[in-house]
Symmetry: C2
């Protein structure tokens, strides 16, 4: 038995970690976010002692320079420093992009003693990092500070709110450990990661092998199941740093806490989907295989026509059915049923939407969150993904976003 309790604030809840951010002048045009020119654009996470680190990166072939830089360290390396910048992705910058990180880290070494520092970037693709600006952060950052708010805000791009969470995990013997995370992401969220960065820190005494397997499993249950617009960025990164200083560990408890923190952050990203107003879960069940259920579920959370129908609060189930049919999986309109929350809205025997059900469906769709369940009636496999509506605002944000 164990108990998971939510804590106020973020990373400062985990002993031995420092964090903070500063502004080096990269936020010249913060129009689309909730940010001003004065908000931070360079953040750090630092540990007093070397940490084990696990990471899951984007499946995009063009992985950004910080990911390649990370992968140049030997397997199983330890680190005590993560540097993060917004506004520039350092992606498609070739070897020079990696050289730039080495230059930055060289400057950092002159300022503070760090072990195998890693970097993470988000922003526009195709531009070299402004080295002078970024290294100017090192004389401004308080490396002994613990300001998770500042760090969480500094990594935002089109996000409209900062994302940070922390939990205390108490085991039956009275021992405990903490886990905390900051995260950014709003647009380009795809089932298969997203333009999202997530940094989880813990003082749990978790073995490195568990870190690797549990982080991958958690990512599959969280960030890989959300969709804003079906694109996958060059920079997507989830990192887990463990300093082990609590001396406490229980695999099941840690796994549950990690799943919980990552799933809740994923839902925060979806609620902050660019221009999105509704969070909708798409469960496809009764499929012949999980792969087919996943394919149909992801097709639903990615479909433009479904997304615009959600925005228009149109209870017609036709776009749901058509999208399932277009996904190429085995399905049959006689065995298919569709529910909005608990309301049966389509079955082979009941096809046309009468006024009473249409009104009920309309009430369901007006909610900020609801569930679409499609039972294919052909097997036992199921998969759920999560999506949001597509609004005028999405187009506006993405037509205008660059610098």
């Amino acid at each position: 038995m164990f108990k998971i309790t939510a804590l106020e604030n973020g990373l400062e809840n985990v002993q031995g970690f420092y964090c903070g951010a500063t502004n080096v002048g990269m936020r010249t045009n913060p129009a689309n976010s909730g940010l001003s020119e004065l908000d931070g654009d360079v953040a750090f996470i630092r540990s007093e002692v070397p940490c084990d680190i696990s990471a899951v990166f984007t499946s995009n072939t063009f992985q950004a320079a910080p990911i390649k830089h990370f992968q140049n360290y030997p397997q199983g390396f330890q680190t005590d420093f993560v540097l993060i910048n917004a506004k520039n992705a350092n992606a498609m910058t070739g070897q020079k992009g990696i050289d730039d990180i080495n230059t930055i880290m060289h400057t950092l070494h002159n300022k503070i003693d760090v072990l195998n520092p890693v970097m993470s970037s988000t922003g526009v693709i195709g531009y070299r990092l402004p080295l002078e600006k970024i290294t100017s952060a090192f004389s401004k950052l308080d490396f002994q500070g613990k300001n998770s708010h500042l760090a969480a805000r500094a990594i935002m791009t089109t996000d409209s709110f900062k994302k940070e969470l922390a939990y205390k995990v108490e085991l039956e013997d009275g021992s405990s450990f903490n886990i905390a995370a900051i995260c950014k992401g709003a647009g380009m969220i795809n089932p298969a990661m997203a333009t999202m960065l997530c940094f989880v820190v813990t003082d749990a005494n978790v073995p490195k092998t568990d870190m690797d397997t549990l982080l991958t499993a958690s990512t599959e249950q969280s960030f890989n199941r959300i969709s804003v617009d079906g694109d996958t960025s060059t920079n997507d990164t989830v990192m887990l740093l463990a300093n082990k200083t609590s001396g406490t560990y229980d695999k099941q408890a840690f796994s549950e806490a990690l799943n919980k923190i990552m799933f809740e952050l994923a839902m925060m990203i979806l609620r902050d989907g660019e221009g999105a107003n509704k969070l909708v879960s798409f469960e496809v069940k009764g499929a012949k295989t999980v792969e087919e259920a996943q394919k149909a579920s992801r097709a639903l959370s990615n479909s433009l026509l479904v997304k615009t129908a959600l925005f228009g609060e149109d209870p017609n189930w036709g776009r749901i059915a058509s999208t399932i049919g277009a996904s190429g999986i085995a399905c049959d309109d006689e065995t298919l049923t569709i529910h909005y929350d608990d309301l049966l809205i389509y079955s082979g025997a009941y096809r046309e939407l009468d006024k009473v059900r249409e009104e009920k469906a309309y009430t369901i769709m007006k909610q900020a969150e609801f569930k679409v369940t499609c039972d294919l009636g052909l097997g036992e496999a199921a998969y759920t993904s999560y999506g949001c509506d597509l609004s005028y605002e999405y187009v506006k944000i993405n037509a205008e976003y660059r610098t």
Copy 2:
């Protein structure tokens, strides 16, 4: 040698075919189209003599009732009548949807002698056809009329303009045949058909086997290469009717004329993409296989981020590169080059966009049509698909479209 000449108007150019349309009161809310309540909603195409017919239908598993009704005829059947309605797709209506078509055709038989009549529908999914309204058309339609304009307008849904084309094909020996078509489609156009209907008629003496193979090949070169929003409808249909009355045929000439008429109609659909202002071709070349080139090209024409960047006229190539990388094909940022029209905008050696090139790119993107060429530099295979931008108007149309 042969000569293909464009003709005025549409289907009336092909001898032996009649066509027209009437209004039976289904257009109760024509807000989003260029139509009024008085425009036609039921159209027909009729031939004096039995025609061979070939068709290509949607790959959506939930094929609409008219498609199933068509497929109930024996292989190689002949027909002399096509009935088309807008506003109601007769999709996901089960066996009753097919029974409804049989009822309609029974009424038609009482009015006029027809052979194996086929039907085609477009509109909202999940509602039974209004039988009385549709059969009321039969006393209003002029079955001896030749009004292609009326028919082309009557099949429109969210289209903002009618689509009809006709060509005369003259062979070296002085003989000739004609080919003509009407078409509808605007939204939901996907590389893999679309919510589109296309009816091609010809008096060429084309053998049935050539009809089948050439229609499939032409569809692959035209409607399967365009994308408005990546969805595939339940009703997509391309039909070719040949009455053979000219007695004239040349395979190469016919193939070219068919390709030409279908490609031009596909481009008309794309230009009429819901809320779209720009037509962009995405050529991916230098790929290892055609499948990979196709996958990347389609990813580009379907990407929301690419579409919104087109709408915003943002010359940043980062979204193009990121989308190629996300498509899962073999690619390398050192060998990749990207051109907008003839302007090199990215290469491994030249990554950052300077002001001069950015201005040139901006000028190119302001055009109503332009070309994006991505050379992967890895092989010889190529594929081109066609897309359009995503505007506020798309969201508005699709949030509001239903009845």
